[in-house]
């Protein structure tokens, strides 16, 4: 339903915008109906930028994003409202996603007036109650409250409800779990997974690999804005091929085994080379050499539904 075609985003940074920061480089992947894709990478890997481009908060420097076959760059004005009716985002900090001086009712009322002016008041109220219950909230505990009177987990669910009230088909969930406590995060995660049943597709952006594993059908591993590995979640986790993915997997704190003796790596300080493999400098593979720097390694399908962009790893 959503497809990213060779999307790149370049920011101008530095005092006079003289330097270029390539946040996203030639990213191509697609998301099917009712599918959860997790986008995994360290900070600075361009995960959030991809989410923002899909939500039309920034526009890609090159490449296109297609939603149901149509390029979203062409959507303007009235079309935009229709687009947002179907595509919504939820962000990391639930408190800064709500206007702190608006009560919950008012937020819903604005939605009612803006998006569903033809729906009667009673009908709207019934729909509202139903949606709140669907995300596991008691409407009486939520309505007539200010955002600060709700807990983080409640508010995050409230935001999911806000998105669901629209006829949302595609949800960008940007690190929505990271602010929550261990005891409540799993409930929000289960809620997201349940929504799949309604045909909702989710782009689940996270840096926590175990959360990604729990919820997603397919995973995209990003490094410095390039996709280094892409495929079915089970296959990537069972047999990570790219050295970066392997390093990430080795760094996950497991509950059933301790970290092995290889040292954790400190994040790369450089921008990554533009011509060749972005991971070249940190790459530990013995076989790395000129061929890595000559050109950006393309994504190659190793087994069905498992692609990797590395020219020297064992296949």
């Amino acid at each position: 339903m959503l497809r990213l075609n060779d999307v790149s985003k370049t920011y101008r940074v530095g005092t006079f915008g003289g330097q270029l920061l390539h946040a996203v480089r030639h990213v191509t992947f697609d998301i099917q109906d009712g599918e959860v894709i997790s986008l995994i990478g360290e900070s600075g890997s361009g995960k959030t930028t991809i989410g923002r481009m899909i939500l039309k908060l920034t526009s890609p420097s090159s490449g296109t994003i297609e939603y149901n076959g149509a390029d979203i760059a062409g959507i303007r004005k009235s079309g935009l409202k229709d687009y947002y009716r179907q595509v919504q985002g939820i962000f990391q900090d639930p408190f800064s996603s709500c206007n702190p001086i608006f009560k919950a009712d008012r937020i819903f009322q604005i939605m009612h007036e803006e998006f569903f002016p033809h729906v009667g008041k009673d009908k709207w109220r019934a729909k509202l109650d139903e949606t709140l219950k669907c995300v596991g909230l008691n409407p009486e505990h939520i309505l007539n409250k200010f955002p600060h009177q709700l807990s983080g987990g409640q508010l995050q669910r409230f935001l999911i409800a806000r998105a669901l009230l629209l006829d949302v088909k595609f949800l960008v969930a940007d690190e929505i779990i990271s602010m929550l406590d261990a005891s409540t995060r799993i409930d929000v995660l289960n809620l997201l997974a349940d929504l799949k049943k309604y045909g909702l597709s989710i782009l689940f952006i996270t840096h926590d690999l175990s959360l990604g594993y729990y919820i997603s059908d397919r995973s995209v591993i990003l490094y410095k804005g390039t996709v280094v590995e892409f495929g079915a979640t089970g296959k990537i986790y069972a047999k990570p091929l790219h050295p970066y993915t392997q390093m990430l997997m080795a760094s996950i704190p497991h509950l059933d085994k301790k970290w092995t003796q290889i040292r954790g790596e400190l994040g790369g300080k450089t921008n990554g080379s533009l011509e060749g493999c972005a991971y070249y400098e940190r790459c530990p593979l013995p076989g790395k050499g000129q061929q890595c720097l000559a050109s950006v390694p393309p994504l190659v399908e190793i087994e069905p539904d498992h692609m990797v962009a590395c020219c020297c790893c064992e296949k």
Partner: protein, 320 residues
């Protein structure tokens, strides 16, 4: 015993009343022990950590006895604590990213800090350089402003700063929460190395992420709503937790190998009580599946097995 704490109770004075943030904490820390302190937000982890170093304006010391290396730790006396702070007890704060003065170069900042404790900076300098090397920071950072460093680099710089005078006790408050998995691993391993090299005698790592603690900590202490729930060796807490809260908390952690499509994990229903006027007795009572009449009284934090402390009436019965 590096640190012993007995019946430490610390409240917050607020406009609405007294918040009972830390109730009757009794525990001890061995020499060389890395203890992890885990719990949900608002359960008093940070209160316990900071009360060992400085009571901020609204914090009220109610009762309790503390001793560090056999010497009394006078946390109720702000001036007397000056002799302990930084030299004996040191802290890596929660927001280490913004812990350094942005208007000073890092070298200058370090010098001022060291000299404020009446220690000659030039004597410390060679050691400082050695430690910078250990955490893989170039020596030239001393000539840079904090803003020039990335988040992970700042974190490591603060680690070196906090431990420069070889404190007996280091409190590390949520130091890896903002870091990527790979950097998180590196930082945690450096903490372990600091202990192995005897830069720091014992350590208290505060975090909500139990799986990180399991990797590095010798023992884990779990708190709930201002009360201690359980303390035991890390292995024991993960494998054989006894307190119902710990059990549920560990069961709620997503791990590699568990997928929604195959096994649905469940969270802990309900939410922690407000500490402004907490219910009497065990504070986990309302969310606890095993609660019974006796839970109306607060359970003591008792050793049920060697080095395994639990505060739960059900567990006491089982071991009576």
């Amino acid at each position: 015993m590096s640190l012993t704490v007995e019946n430490l109770t610390v409240y917050y004075q607020t406009l609405k009343g007294v918040v009972q943030a830390l109730e009757d904490a009794t525990f001890s820390l061995d020499d060389g022990e890395i203890m992890g302190l885990a719990g949900e937000s608002g359960c008093g982890k940070t209160t316990l950590g900071t009360s060992l170093i400085q009571l901020s304006g609204r914090m009220r010391y109610i009762k309790g006895k503390l001793a560090l290396d056999g010497q009394e730790l006078p946390i109720w006396d702000n001036t007397a604590m000056n002799d302990f702070r930084y030299k004996k007890v040191s802290l890596i704060p929660q927001y280490a990213m913004s812990a350094m003065n942005p208007t000073r170069k890092i070298g200058m900042l370090t010098r001022e800090l060291i000299e404020a404790k009446k220690v000659d900076f030039n004597q410390v300098l060679p050691e400082l350089k050695r430690r910078l090397e250990l955490v893989e920071l170039p020596e030239k950072v001393l000539n840079m402003y904090p803003i020039e460093l990335s988040g992970g680099m700042k974190q490591r710089m603060v680690m070196v700063l906090s431990t420069l005078l070889n404190p007996s006790l280091l409190i590390a408050d949520e130091i890896t929460s903002a870091l990527d998995v790979s950097t998180q691993k590196a930082v945690m391993e450096m903490l372990g190395e600091f202990r192995d090299r005897k830069y720091v005698k014992s350590m208290m790592i505060i975090t909500h992420d139990i799986s990180v603690l399991y990797q590095i900590a010798d023992s884990i202490m779990v708190m709930y709503a201002g009360q201690l729930s359980e303390k035991a060796a890390a292995e024991t807490i993960i494998r054989e937790p006894r307190h119902p809260y710990t059990k549920m908390l560990i069961a709620a952690l997503p791990k590699i190998g568990v997928r929604y499509s195959e096994q649905v994990l469940s969270g802990i229903p309900g939410k922690p009580p407000l500490l402004l006027d907490p219910p009497a007795g065990c504070r986990f009572r309302e969310r606890c599946p095993a609660a019974f009449g006796k839970c109306l009284q607060a359970p003591p934090f008792k050793e049920v097995q060697k080095d395994h402390f639990v505060a739960c009436w059900k567990e006491f019965e089982r071991h009576a």
